[in-house]
């Protein structure tokens, strides 16, 4: 199985890749930070995976075409694609400064969609494949504390929903993953509580979804319940809540 991972140095992505079988999987890693990528590359190679890697800052949309050409020629059409990069950004900054806001929207929305456009066409042609997209529970309802990031993730989740319908006739699966709080480098400055999950746990849920037939995965599972309630709070009440 050929697995292509964008944002492979994310803790969740790395844990997911470790769960695959090195005997039957080839990996292609794409990430922004060369040093981290090198470290992950060594780890996965030592585990026995045949691994390729590419340093790429995917928020630079104008360079996507070159990178995608290179990946296509080195790796062919993957069986599974994991889109795991994201940028939480700084809400207070991005709510005042549009340049910051547009960076967050590019990184969390436009960049994944550029990739999904490219690969959904390829997978349609080969009539097989799985696209796994890591969105966020933050996209389920906008909140004062992270609505720029949240709105980008909301757009991404809805895009995936539509893409899933569109690709069904071609036997191409789209899995939307909505993690809650995960203890990763992205959230290292947060105070951690009981709701926080470890990347390994989230990765196991993703692997389970790939093996099974789930379309949208809340992970850990209890976030489905939490978000069900949050989504159903009437707006006139919701606007007064502070969380």
């Amino acid at each position: 199985m050929k697995v292509l991972c964008f944002g492979s140095t994310s803790a969740i992505a790395h844990e997911f890749l470790k769960l695959l079988n090195p005997k039957s999987s080839e990996l292609y890693l794409v990430a922004r930070n060369a040093e981290k990528l090198e470290r992950d590359f060594k780890d996965l190679t030592t585990r026995g995976f045949k691994t390729f890697s590419l340093v790429a800052d995917l928020s630079k949309l104008e360079l996507h075409e070159n990178w995608l050409q290179r990946i296509d020629s080195e790796f062919g059409t993957p069986d599974l694609i994991l889109i795991a990069f994201g940028d939480l950004g700084d809400q207070s900054l991005s709510s005042r400064d549009f340049t910051q806001a547009s960076l967050i929207i590019t990184g969390n929305y436009l960049a994944p969609i550029s990739l999904l456009t490219h690969y959904s066409e390829k997978m349609k042609a080969s009539k097989i494949g799985t696209l796994v997209v890591i969105s966020s529970v933050a996209g389920d309802r906008g909140r004062a504390t992270n609505y720029v990031y949240g709105s980008a993730k909301a757009g991404l989740s809805e895009y995936c929903s539509g893409l899933r319908q569109a690709l069904l006739p071609y036997d191409v699966r789209v899995i939307t993953v909505k993690p809650g709080f995960v203890d990763t480098p992205m959230t290292q400055n947060f105070k951690k509580g009981a709701l926080w999950a470890r990347p390994h746990q989230v990765a196991k849920d993703i692997a389970e979804a790939v093996r099974g037939n789930r379309d949208v995965v809340y992970t850990p599972w209890f976030w489905w319940g939490i978000m069900f309630i949050i989504k159903h709070i009437p707006e006139f009440l919701f606007k007064k809540l502070k969380f």
Binding site: E35, R39, K42, D43, T45, T46, G48
Partner: protein, 432 residues
């Protein structure tokens, strides 16, 4: 930085202290220089050698990547926070195993080095440090030092068994062992006295792994002698997955009392009616019988427990001391239900503070209470009267004098302590 409550304790949950912890980050394992720190892996040391209540802990949990593996030499390079379980998971299916394995796989490479741990094959393989080829050590002044028997060798020997005090180990190079399978052919023999144990130890020393469980409430020292070798069978179902049992909460202190311990020991001894029983088992129950019960340390109740592990030399004085230890324990009625007796071989450990040395080593658990400390003081006298030693990784109560008596090479070690590192154990031993 986060405040730790239960997680910050050691495995014995005694002494109880509150601690701060930061994570060592992989690319910049920035050493927090505002306070004295202590590298920390899984916190599986029993006493206070993994505590630093007056400084802070520097967790290696994020240093969890493999670096390289050379099948020609079987040498694995991995970051210090990689757990032994992970090494078995990755390399077991390829026909390799840990050269030395302790009684739990939930320890890190760094912890295995820092305590120069031993296992059931000590009589043939020595301790963990004997299989370490190289260490990459980060000192608090920013120096990254490659340490081996040829390069920075004094620091290498200080770091093996060095209780984390010589710097932050970033990477460990270790030579794995090729094995025929992950199945173990084991045979279990009952013995009814220490003399029988000594005989069995000799007779069975050709087996790769040997260990004994012993009923220390029985004054003669009856028990089960377990010997095993990697099986030659290559087919069969893969080793069973660890069942997930978990001790859900701290048990009431009354759970373990002389009656329940006596009943457990009786049942354990009599679980096999034949005097010898042979079987083939997976590596997991053979090496890590307690790993199936997560948080088993909670059964000792809120006061926690102390473990007492010592070694006595293989001389007549040593054997006499061991007999007296059993008499003392059995008279006191302070039974331990996990008493493990093992013969150490004569492969010299290399670390300045390595514990394992030729002789007999016994490990005992006791629930924390005042009478136990009095008993252990009496046992100390017996252990040191014959030139024995105590194991720092298990200790929460030895005296600085006992520590000095246990480690004659202490003076060679002291100059290598990193000035920004401390631990509660080191403070208690007055070596900082």
């Amino acid at each position: 930085m986060s405040e730790l409550s239960p997680e910050g304790l050691s495995w014995g949950r005694f002494p109880r202290v509150s601690q701060r912890q930061a994570d060592a980050s992989p690319l910049k394992p920035i050493l927090p220089l505002d306070r004295l720190f202590l590298p920390r892996g899984m916190g599986r040391s029993y006493g206070d050698s993994c505590l630093n209540s007056r400084g802070q802990l520097l967790s290696t949990s994020k240093l969890d990547h493999l670096v390289s593996f050379d099948p020609e030499t079987s040498c694995l390079v991995a970051e210090a926070g990689v757990r032994l379980a992970e090494i078995i998971h990755v390399f077991g299916p390829k026909g390799y195993f840990l050269p030395v394995s302790p009684g739990t796989k939930w320890v890190t490479l760094g912890g295995a080095v820092a305590n120069d741990i031993h296992g059931k094959n000590h009589h043939l393989a020595g301790s963990f440090g004997n299989h370490v080829v190289e260490l990459l050590l980060l000192r608090s002044n920013g120096e990254r030092l490659h340490c081996s028997r040829l390069q920075n060798s004094e620091l290498f020997f200080a770091t093996i068994g060095g209780l984390g005090l010589t710097g932050l180990v970033l990477e460990v190079t270790i030579k794995l062992k090729k094995v025929s399978s992950l199945w173990i052919d084991q045979n279990v023999t009952r013995f009814r006295s220490l003399d029988e144990f000594y005989d069995l130890s000799l007779q069975k020393s050709h087996h790769e792994y040997t260990v004994a469980w012993i009923d220390c409430l029985n004054p003669h020292g009856r028990g089960l002698f377990i010997a095993g070798d990697h099986s030659s069978r290559t087919s069969g179902p893969p080793p069973v997955k660890t069942r997930k049992l978990r001790v859900p909460f701290t048990f009431p202190s009354i759970t373990l009392n002389p009656f329940t311990v006596r009943a457990f020991n009786w049942a354990y001894f009599h679980r096999q009616l034949k005097s010898v029983k042979a079987s083939t088992v997976s590596y997991d129950p053979f090496f890590y019988p307690l790993d199936v019960i997560h948080d088993w340390n909670l059964i000792y109740g809120s006061a926690g427990f102390v473990q007492y592990q010592f070694v006595v030399p293989p001389t007549n004085e040593g054997k006499k001391a061991l007999s007296k230890v059993f008499q003392n324990i059995s008279e006191s009625g302070e039974g331990s239900f996990l008493a493990v007796l093992k013969t150490f071989g004569d492969i010299p450990s290399e670390g300045c503070l390595s514990f394992s040395r030729p002789g007999y080593t016994l490990a005992l658990d006791f629930k924390v209470k005042p009478e136990v400390f009095k008993l252990l003081d009496r046992l100390d006298d017996l252990v040191f009267s014959c030139g024995g030693a105590l194991y720092p990784a298990k200790d929460a109560r030895m005296s600085p004098q006992s520590f000095r008596a246990s480690f004659p090479d202490l003076q060679k070690f002291l100059p290598h302590i990193d000035p920004k590192i401390s631990s509660d154990f080191a403070r208690r031993m007055e070596i900082l």
